[in-house]
Symmetry: C2
Subunit: 575 residues, 2 copies
C-alpha cells in the first residue's frame, strides 16, 4: 500500500471524552471516529486491524471444525419470548418495531437464532456434533457507553454455538473451543490468561473467560504461578487460612470502642492485628411463597472482602439483598458499626466464612453502640456456625489445588466459553432423534470473542509514550518504509521502490509512506499508529550502501546492506 492511496489521519491531542489510553490512542491514530455515543466508524486504519483479528479467528475456528454462517442483525422478538429473555433482559436489549408494529431486537447475541436454525436442520444424532459460528455486528444499549471500543454500544463479535448429543460430547466440543481460543490468542501475540469463571445457574465447571493481561484491566485474575490454577475473582475458591482452630484463651469481654466503627480502627485502638477482628455483614431475603422475610448475618475476617457471587450460592441466599439500616436496628438493636453474632435482638441466620470459622479469641461488635467484644470463641460464646466460602481471595492465599500460593493480576475480558447444556434447547424444543428414534434435547455450548474489544485490549497491553505497539500479527501494516527526501534524491526513490516491490513480492504487508512529510512528522505518525517494523531510506545511509531498520518495541537502529534488507525484514517477521 502506498500512503497516498490510503487514508492516514493522526491527531496531536485526543478528544476530551477519551478517558483511557486505548481510546485516546485509537482516536489519535485515526483508527476510529465517533458517530454517536458508543457508536464508531472504523476508519481505514482501524478496519485493517479488525480484519486481521477476524481472519485469525476464522482460520482457527475453521481448523477446529466450526462452520461459518451469518445470522441476522435484526431478529424477531418471538424467538426471545420463547426463551423468556425478551422479558428478563433490561434496557441494554435494543428493541425496535417494524412498520406493522411487530417487535424485533438488534441482536446482542444469537443463542435464540442459532437454536431456531438447528431445531429444524438437525434431525438425527448422525448430524452431531456440529458447531456453527458467525462474525457479526452486535448492539448492546449500555447505560453509559465509554472507553471507546472497550464498552461501546455497537461492536463486532465472533460467536460460536456447538450442539452435541450428550454432556460428554459437550465437554469434548468445549475443550476443542478452549484449545482453539488458546491458539487464537497466541496468534494475536498478546499475553493472555484463561480463567475459570462462575457458571451462574448452570453449575458445573463449564465456563472460562479469556483475558488480555493489562494493568488497566477491570477484572482481577487469580492464578497460581506454580500450577495451572486460574480463576476470575468471582470464582476463585478461598480456603480457610488456618487448618484448625486454636483453643480459647481469653474470656469474652465487652470493651468500649467509641466512634470506632471499622475493624481497622478497632484493631488499632485495641492494639491487635486486623486479622484478630471479624466484620459483620447483614443481608435480607424477602418473603416469597409463604416463606417469611429472613435476616442473615455473614462474618468475614476484618481484612477480607465479601464475594457476592459466592454469597448467592449459599443455600437460601440466591436472592439476597443488603439489609436496610432500619432492618438492622430491628434485628440487632444497634446501628451498623458495632454489630456482631452474640446476643441479637431477633434471631438471624448466621454464616461464617471458612477463615472466621477457624478463628479463636476474636473481636466483633457487641450489638451496642460504642462497644465491641474481645475474646469471642465458637462453641463457648456462640454455637458452631454454618461455614461457607464467602470472601474474595487475596494474593498469598493458598491455591485451592494445594500446589502453591495465589497471585492476582489485572485483565480485560475478551473471550468467554460456556457450557450451556439444555438452557435454550429446552425452551425452544430443539431435539434430535437418537439411535432408538427417541427425541433428545440438544446439549449446547456457546463461545464468544469480542473482535473489536481485542483492539482496545491489545493497546492497553502494548503502548508507550509515543503510541501503540502492535503485535505484528494484528498490526495495520507489518512494515513501513519511510523515505527521506524522496523528492530530492533519485537514489532514495529507486531504493525505496526496490525494497517496496521486493517486500510486496514476498507477501509482506508493507506501507510505503510517499506522502512527502518531514521525517519527524512521519516517524511520529508511525510510532503513534504502532507499525512494528520501520525501514528508513536516506541518502546518508545509501552512501554506505545501507538502510536503517528500527523495531517499534525498544529497537535500536540497525544498519543493513541495501540488498539484504528484504531478507532481513522477512527474518524478523518469521521470528
Amino acid at each position: 500500500m502506498r500512503a497516498t492511496r490510503f487514508f492516514i489521519s493522526t491527531l496531536k491531542e485526543a478528544p476530551a471524552d477519551a478517558e483511557i489510553i486505548s481510546h485516546k490512542l485509537m482516536m489519535r491514530a485515526g483508527m476510529i471516529k465517533r458517530l454517536g455515543s458508543g457508536i464508531y466508524n472504523y476508519m481505514p486504519m482501524g478496519l485493517r486491524i479488525i480484519r486481521k483479528v477476524e481472519n485469525i479467528i476464522r482460520e482457527e475456528m475453521n481448523r477446529a471444525g466450526a462452520i461459518e454462517m451469518l445470522m441476522p442483525v435484526v431478529q424477531p422478538a418471538e424467538l426471545w419470548q420463547e426463551t423468556g429473555r425478551w422479558d428478563k433482559m433490561g434496557p441494554e436489549l435494543m428493541r425496535v418495531k417494524d412498520r406493522h408494529g411487530r417487535d424485533f431486537i438488534i441482536q446482542p447475541t444469537s443463542e435464540e437464532a442459532i437454536t431456531d436454525v438447528v431445531r429444524s436442520e438437525i434431525r438425527s444424532y448422525r448430524q452431531l456434533p456440529v458447531n456453527f459460528y458467525h462474525i457479526q455486528t452486535k448492539f448492546r444499549d449500555e447505560r453509559r457507553p465509554r472507553f471507546g471500543l472497550m464498552r461501546g454500544r455497537e461492536f463486532t463479535m465472533k460467536d460460536a454455538y456447538s450442539f452435541d448429543r450428550d454432556t460428554d460430547g459437550l465437554k469434548k466440543s468445549y475443550q476443542i473451543m478452549y484449545d482453539a481460543y488458546t491458539s487464537i490468542f497466541q496468534r494475536f501475540g498478546l499475553q493472555f490468561r484463561a480463567v475459570a469463571a462462575d457458571n451462574g445457574a448452570i453449575g458445573g465447571s463449564g465456563s472460562h473467560e479469556f483475558h488480555v493481561i493489562a494493568e488497566t484491566g477491570e477484572d482481577a485474575l487469580v492464578y497460581c504461578p506454580t500450577s495451572d490454577y486460574a480463576a476470575n475473582m468471582e470464582a476463585a475458591e478461598a480456603l480457610a487460612l488456618s487448618d484448625s482452630r486454636a483453643a480459647a484463651s481469653a474470656a469474652m469481654t465487652k470493651t468500649a470502642t467509641p466512634g470506632k466503627e471499622k475493624c481497622e480502627d478497632v484493631a488499632a485502638l485495641l492494639n491487635l492485628p486486623l486479622t484478630a477482628t471479624v466484620k459483620s455483614i447483614v443481608l435480607a431475603v424477602d418473603a416469597d411463597e409463604g416463606k417469611e422475610k429472613q435476616i442473615w448475618l455473614l462474618l468475614l475476617r476484618g481484612d477480607h472482602e465479601l464475594n457476592e457471587v459466592k454469597v448467592s450460592k449459599v443455600a437460601g441466599l440466591a436472592n439476597f439483598r443488603f439489609a436496610s439500616e432500619s432492618e438492622i436496628v430491628e434485628y440487632f438493636g444497634c446501628k451498623p458499626g458495632y454489630l456482631g453474632p452474640v446476643g441479637t435482638v431477633k434471631p438471624v441466620n448466621l454464616v461464617a466464612d471458612r477463615t472466621v470459622a477457624n478463628m479463636a479469641d476474636f473481636v466483633c461488635g457487641a450489638n451496642e453502640e460504642g462497644y465491641h467484644l474481645t475474646g469471642v470463641n465458637w462453641g463457648r460464646d456462640l454455637p458452631e456456625p454454618v461455614v461457607a466460602d464467602l470472601r474474595n481471595v487475596v494474593a498469598g492465599d493458598p491455591s485451592p489445588d494445594g500446589k502453591g500460593v495465589l497471585a492476582i493480576q489485572r485483565g480485560i475480558e475478551v473471550g468467554h466459553v460456556f457450557q450451556l447444556g439444555t438452557r435454550y434447547s429446552e425452551d425452544m424444543k430443539a431435539t434430535f432423534l437418537d439411535e432408538n428414534g427417541k427425541p433428545q434435547l440438544l446439549q449446547m455450548g456457546c463461545y464468544g470473542i469480542g473482535v473489536t474489544r481485542i483492539l482496545g485490549a491489545a493497546i492497553e497491553q502494548n503502548y508507550d509514550d509515543k503510541g501503540i505497539i502492535w503485535p505484528t500479527a494484528i498490526a495495520p501494516f507489518e512494515v513501513v518504509i519511510c523515505p527521506m527526501g524522496m523528492d530530492r534524491s533519485e537514489a532514495v526513490r529507486t531504493e525505496t521502490e526496490n525494497l517496496y516491490q521486493a517486500l510486496l513480492a514476498a507477501g509482506v504487508d508493507v506501507i510505503l509512506d510517499d506522502r512527502g512529510e518531514r521525517p519527524g512528522a512521519m516517524f511520529a505518525d508511525w510510532e503513534l499508529i504502532g507499525v512494528p517494523h520501520r525501514v528508513v531510506v536516506g541518502d546518508r545511509g545509501l552512501k554506505e550502501g545501507k538502510l536503517e531498520y528500527v523495531a517499534r518495541r525498544g529497537g535500536e537502529a540497525v544498519h543493513v546492506p541495501v540488498a539484504e534488507m528484504a531478507a532481513f525484514i522477512q527474518a524478523r517477521l518469521a521470528e
Copy 2:
C-alpha cells in the same frame, strides 16, 4: 473442504412462500434460511457465495483507488435530520429509540454518515479526490418483503462515496467507478448491461444502473444493438415517430362510438389503425402558494404508454397526480372514455407527446359520452400544442443517437452509480479549503452494489430444471469430487484423495463429497447447488485408468486419464 466437515442441507421441495426461481433454488440448496419476514440466515453454503462476491468487489474497488472503512449499522437520527431525510423517508426507514429515548435509524444507506466523517476529516483540496467504501448490513423495512434475497429487509450492500473539488473531478471519479463496476460484473461472469438512469432532481447525465440480464427481471432495459445507447425505461428518450406532420385531408367529424371507451375498440369500430387514435390522460396539480389548482390534459398515440418520470419533468408537472373522475367531469363535461382536447368545459393545460404532435386526421374523444371525433388536425381544429416526450419507448423505435432502432430486454438492478453533486454537502456543510483558502462545497458521488441481491440475480440468469448453474467466480465451490463406493473400493479412496490433494495444492476451491451418499442423491445435490465442475471417481473408470468430468452447464461426460485430471481441471478453470 470435505463435505463431512461442512454443512449441506438440501430440500426436494421449496417452501410455499418462495415465488420466484432464485428464492426457491436458494432455499432448496440450503443457502439461506428464513428467520423472519424478509430476514434470512445466510447458511454456510450461501455465505461462501456472498464472500466471493464481496472479495471481487473489494479487489476492484481497491484497484480503483477506493479505500475501505466501516460505518455503523445504527446511526443517530440527528444526521438524518440535517439532510431532511428523517422526515422525507417513509416507513421503510427503520427507526429505533435507545434507553434514553434518543432517536436512531438502522441504516439503509450511509450518505449522512460518510458526509459527517468527511466534513471533519477533509480540510484541504490537497486531500482530494477521495473515495471511501464499506460493505455493510443494511435494513429497509419493505411493506411486503418477498422474493428471498431480491426484496428482503436485511441485506448487504457495498456503498462507496467519492468527494471531489469540482464537477470535473466528480465526473472523473464517476467514470472510474463506472469502469470498476464494469470490471466487477465481468469478473462475476454474469451477463449485464449498464443503462443511463433518470437523475431525479439532480439533473444532468450523472446516473447509471447496472442490471443483470434475466427474463424474469422487473425492469425493462432499452438499448440499441447497433450503438452504445442504453437507458432504463424511465430515462430512454422517445423521438417523434414521424419527422413532420401530414397535411389535413379530412374534415373533423363527430362519430357515434357507443360503449367504445378504449382506443383499441374505437379503432376496430371505425376500421382504422390504432396508430390513428389519440388517448387522453387527465392530471391535476393541486393549489400551492397562491397558485390555483390546475388540470392538465396529456395526449398520447393510442398504442403508447405514459412515462410518469418524463411527465414529472414537464414544467409545472413536478407534483402531478391523476385527476379524479369528478374533476374530469367538471372540466370536460364528460366521463372518462370519451375525452379529448377539442371543446373542454373549462380550460385545461394541454401537452402532446412528440409523436402526437406530428399526427394529422387523428381520432380522439368528443367530450360527449358515446362519441369520438375523427379527422382532427392541429392548427385547424386545435391550436398548436405544447410538445414533450411523455411516453415509454417501444421496441423498434428509433434510437435517440440516430444509430439504429431500439430493443428492449429485462434486467434486475444490482448496482447504481450516481453523481450527487452538493445535495448532501450543502445540507451538512461539508466544505474544503481551495488554493485560495476559501471554503468550497464538496462534490459528491455515490456508488452502490447489492451484494446479497447479486446471488438472486445470478440465479435468475443461470439455472435449469436441475438447479442453479453458478459462474465459477462466485460458485460456492469451483469443483466437486464425487467418489462412487468409497467404502468398498480402496482404489476409489486412493484416487479420490490424490485428486483432492492435488487440487488443493493448486489452490482450487474444491469440495470432496465424503458423505457416503448414493450416486443419484449425490449428483442431484451438486446439480441443485450448482457447482460448475464435477469429477466422478469410480471403479469402472479406474479400470481404464480414467476419471469422469462433467461441466454443470450442458456438459457431456469427458473421460480423462487419472494423472491428467488435476491439470485438466485447472485448464477448465483458466478458460
